[in-house]
């Protein structure tokens, strides 16, 4: 393992590498998408190379961790179900997905999109996922507006003579 990979494995902040950051963003969008949305996105791409399983899509667990006091040493908080998929396209590109939950179809579709994104279909994949990204952003913004309405604005009562 080279130094960079090791630092990442130790929990160093994600690579400054914009390529990886963009790939992470696509993966994040896929986790928030519904199975139908991902299947529609994949369907909209037209003819694509056939995909085969690099490893069978399977559910498993990842141990989630917190930090003591929020910023101290790590501790094990509890597990989460995670489904992982790994595919290889005909042209040799590989794609991966690790997603919360137990939806095998969704994880496998996300892995295919991940593989396609790494080649000439990148722009098409980004465009196909744009509506999902927009929906997620709209929902987050609406939630933030509802939460903001519950913000407390304190005022101090005048006390005594002074």
């Amino acid at each position: 393992m080279d130094l960079v990979m090791r630092q990442q494995a130790l929990g160093a902040p994600p690579a400054q590498n914009p390529e990886i950051a963009a790939r992470q963003a696509v993966m994040a969008t896929c986790t928030g998408a519904t199975t139908t949305e991902l299947e529609q996105a994949l369907g909209s791409l037209g003819p694509i190379p056939a995909a085969s399983d690099l490893r069978g899509t399977e559910p498993g667990l990842v141990m989630l961790r917190g930090r003591m006091g929020g910023d101290g040493n790590a501790f094990n908080l509890g597990e989460a179900t995670v489904t992982r998929a790994a595919v290889r396209l005909e042209d040799g590109r590989t794609g991966f997905a690790y997603q919360l939950g137990r939806d095998a179809a969704k994880a496998r579709t996300a892995a295919i999109l991940d593989a396609l994104w790494q080649g000439p279909e990148r722009d098409a994949v980004e465009a196909a996922l744009a509506p999902v990204r927009q929906r997620l952003a709209d929902e987050a913004a609406a939630k933030a507006r509802r939460v903001a309405a519950t913000r407390v604005n304190f005022f101090t009562m005048v006390r005594g003579e002074d």
Binding site: M1, V4, M5, Q8, A9, L10, G11, P14, A15, I20, R23, Q24, M27, A28, T31, G32, P59, G60, L61, V62, M63, L64, R65, G66, R67, M68, G69, G70, D71, G72, N73, A74, F75, N76, L77, G78, E79, A80, T81, V82, R84, A86, F96, Y98, Q99, L100, G101, R102, A140, K143, A144, R145, R146, V147, A148, A149, T150, R151, V152, F154
Partner: protein
Amino acid sequence: MYVAVKGGEEAIDNAHGLLAHERRGPVSIPDLSPDQIENQLALAVDRVMAEGSLYDPALAALAIKQARGDLIEAIFLVRAFRTTLPRFGNAEPVETGAMAIERRISATFKDLPGGQVLGPTFDYTHRLIDFLLAAGVTPPAPAEVTTEQEASPRVTDLLDGEGLIEQELRDDGAEVGDLTRAPLDFPADRDLRLQALARGDEGFLLALGYSTQRGYGRTHPFVGEIRFGEVMAEFVPEELGFAVPLGTVSLTECQMVNQFHGSAELPPQFTRGYGLVFGQSERKAMSMSLVDRALRTREFGEDVVAPAQDEEFVLSHCDNVQATGFVEHLKLPHYVDFQAELGLVRQMRAEYMARQQELKEAAE
């Protein structure tokens, strides 16, 4: 005399059939879907995830349905389910400072960066039964306010600047104990204690936290901050070597700020207790942080004088699946044990009677 018994298979099958029948209830009432439970009994789902120690809302909702609403039974089902799956690895520690805040309050600082937001809370409700809910009335749309997103740093980071509050040590190379992989040994380090408390029974921890407030291991707590919201879980798979976003998880975090501690090396400063729980559960996060602080006696050279400070007592009894297993096993057949006890008590009684008879004869 002991007689070996067998049988009951048919009775057991029929009992389970009856259970399924009772679970469904009258067919004139619509069947409850796990989706409805997940979305409309969300806090029950959160509790099952927290104490089941498995983040999976859909699974927890189904477990609640299967358990007929018995949450400890649902927690048991979830714990059993997790044993059927392989573990891919450990996630990166969550960054609660970057949480998408849905609620955030402080009882110690009125004006703090990011502000105080109440979010969806039972606080300040009148606790009057709302009969409109029975009528299935759709609630009005909640108010919305458009504001600039403001960062909400953890309150403890604000105090840290002045050195008034204990700072957490951070060593990313430190081994992280896992009580699901190795049995608990005492004394247990804080990582293991926090793991046990995070999956511990809410009622048990609530009672212990309450006991510290009433004087059994007093810690003079203040709520520095409670926050609830979503954070992105991240995991670094070996084959990729970078952090993959797994999806968002809802968490409640409580920073309890407690009275001072100082030493020859350090001037007096506030000490801390920490709570972090799956889902929205303030009561659990607060109880956890009270008990976390109470259990830090060794670090602060405090005497263990109360139950909440006794880590062996707390950690050995906070798991409701273990507790219910041992309590409920008493209802399983103990015919052999009891026969032995019966024989013993008969013999003791015979000896007693004989002694009484001898005393009586001697007296005469």
